[in-house]
Symmetry: C2
Subunit: 338 residues, 2 copies
DNA sequence: CTGAAAGCGCTAACAG
DNA sequence: CTGTTAGCGCTTTCAG
């Protein structure tokens, strides 16, 4: 019922606590004999350093905070995985928190992270106007993941959303579609705004007019996609093709279309943003913008590590390029393989 | 760059550190005047208790460890969500670790949890023969999630896998299928074994023979489902219907069938285990055993809370019932809605 | 190269 | 009801 402490190890090895501590921290200035003796005692007693104590004393911790905004969204899973693997490879553990797009929860978790004295924080913020004042004051580095904020300058890694959306809509245009609609995500998030911008740009570049009636804005959730798509198909002049701004909304859209017997792509063509493991088994196999999610996660850790090593390094923003995966939901060439 | 400490608050409010501590911990024996004065100082200084210090001193922590075996598997996401929400409601934070079905990683994370002195641990173990000796020795309660181990008695919450599989296979039998095959998951996990048992039981109850050639065993991953399904359809006598033991393997199976132009359910009928948000948009909409994943997560927290309150409470095992969601992949009545 | 000693920020008896 | 006094387990000067 009781764990051995550093003192126990010291007693057992007949050295001072300082020496044990040095061995633990790979301090080179320890005689080889003592080192092995200490190591042996550690093994024998099954000693485990107490992290709470260590963190209290040495203000450095090896815990990395990861705050994501919606764990329900499969997009984040692969991201989490990337963060975790990278952290693991660098001997850090990660504490994952989910704000559920709730600013109140976000505030709370920010407090937790601060009180927890994490080494650094990776976050995809729920709102663009958070300034992370407390965390910054304490000197905890922050890396923005996927979404950015207006308020202040930080290291950030994100996807080229404008480019991705452009790619998707251009594909539709190239296939000859007109009346191309969009089901957009939260306009208060950079991702929502940028994908919308990509949509506009693509139409613009093709000399096509923007028709406000073909643009619906929601909140990146399945229900929102469902509701908006329903508005579309029950409207007098539904779009001939739709670009949907994320995977959840795409699911909602597919549901409505199926329920109303609308055929894809014969009646309405569809491109999604986010390529998921199941996208190729959907009905029909979905053409979608694929985001390098795993790399997104990895990259944030790299940025954090760099910032930890040099707090004065210039601020860096990394942008990852998405690519279009063509399947059957737009009526492009039918392919035998996905 | 420096955070106020409890001492700063004490000085500011002109009281002792003990009093501040009492206020912080809602100790009722503090005069109302002092309490407001302290609270005011806390607010003014923006004080945040240092968790590391608190945890070091009071061996009780409000951090709950959650170790899952495969974050890639969407099944766990909803579980995580359930755990998190319940924990949040009970003022606890959760640290999530992903072992990736790797016993070495699991060992490491168990150490981390111990060193971290978490209040309790919820885990879906990668292997059935882990005994959690160290954790138990330190007195950290453990709750088994979804999977169980042989080695020792603990509180556990899981799904009735036998019953779920039985339901699925019986459905196939009731529809008149013969030559019903199974693509099973890891036999060293209780979930894998039990779903297999349910399959056998259903055939048995119907007076049907078990044909070993119709049983393939894999490891719950997409690739495994892909490979096994391929073996099936390239075999001289493929099964007429298949029960697939989890969502990832179902995805792999669907992929093979699509690639080989096998029609579902006309050529081969399919039932999956795990109903996912996208199951109804698959090609064809999938009939599947739906597990109460969110509740699974919630329930583990309840069990943990109970154990924390009374370490001598009798060991409890909670079993949640799954249900069958009928769609189109088995050729049952076609329904307009999912 | 090693040990002694002084805390990190907080809580928990124990007196008053 | 409040303050004093010890530490929790570890790291880190500072002397030897």
């Amino acid at each position: 019922m009781t764990t051995p402490t550093l003192k126990d190890v010291a007693d057992h090895a007949q050295v001072s606590r300082a020496t044990v501590s040095r061995v633990l921290n790979n301090n080179p200035s320890v005689d080889e004999d003592l080192r092995v003796r200490v190591l042996e005692s550690i093994r024998l007693l099954g000693y485990q350093p107490n992290r709470a104590a260590r963190r209290l004393r040495a203000s450095s911790s090896d815990v990395l905070g990861l705050i994501i905004s919606d764990i329900e969204n499969p997009f984040f899973i692969s991201v989490v995985r990337g963060v975790e693997d990278s952290a693991y490879a660098n001997h850090m553990s990660v504490v994952l928190c989910n704000t559920d797009e709730d600013p109140v929860k976000q505030r709370m978790y920010l407090s937790v992270m601060q009180a927890e004295r994490v080494a650094g924080l990776i976050i995809s913020p729920t709102n663009a106007n958070e300034d992370f004042a407390e965390l910054r004051q304490v000197g905890i580095p922050i890396i923005l993941l996927d979404r950015r904020t207006d308020k202040f300058e930080t290291d950030a890694v994100s996807i080229d959303n404008v480019g991705g959306a452009y790619l998707a809509v251009k594909h539709l245009i190239d296939l000859g579609y007109e009346r191309i609609g969009m089901i957009g995500g939260s306009p208060h998030l950079t991702t929502g705004r940028e994908r919308y911008e990509g949509y506009r740009k693509a139409l613009h570049a093709a000399g096509m007019k923007i028709d406000e009636k073909l643009i619906k804005v929601g909140n990146f959730k399945t229900e929102s996609g469902y509701a908006l798509a329903k508005e579309f198909i029950t409207s007098p002049q539904p779009p001939r093709a739709i670009f949907v701004a994320n995977n959840l909304m795409t699911l909602g859209t597919l549901r409505v279309l199926r329920e109303h017997g609308v055929r894809v792509p014969q009646d309405i063509a569809l491109v999604g943003f986010d390529d998921m493991p199941w996208s190729s088994e959907l009905c029909p196999p979905l053409t979608a913008v694929s985001q390098p999610t795993y790399e997104l996660g990895q990259e944030t850790v790299q940025l954090l590590l760099r910032r930890l090593a040099d707090s004065d390094a210039p601020i860096r923003t990394v942008t990852l390029q998405p690519r279009l995966v063509i399947r059957e939901s737009c009526g492009a060439v039918l392919q035998s393989r996905s």
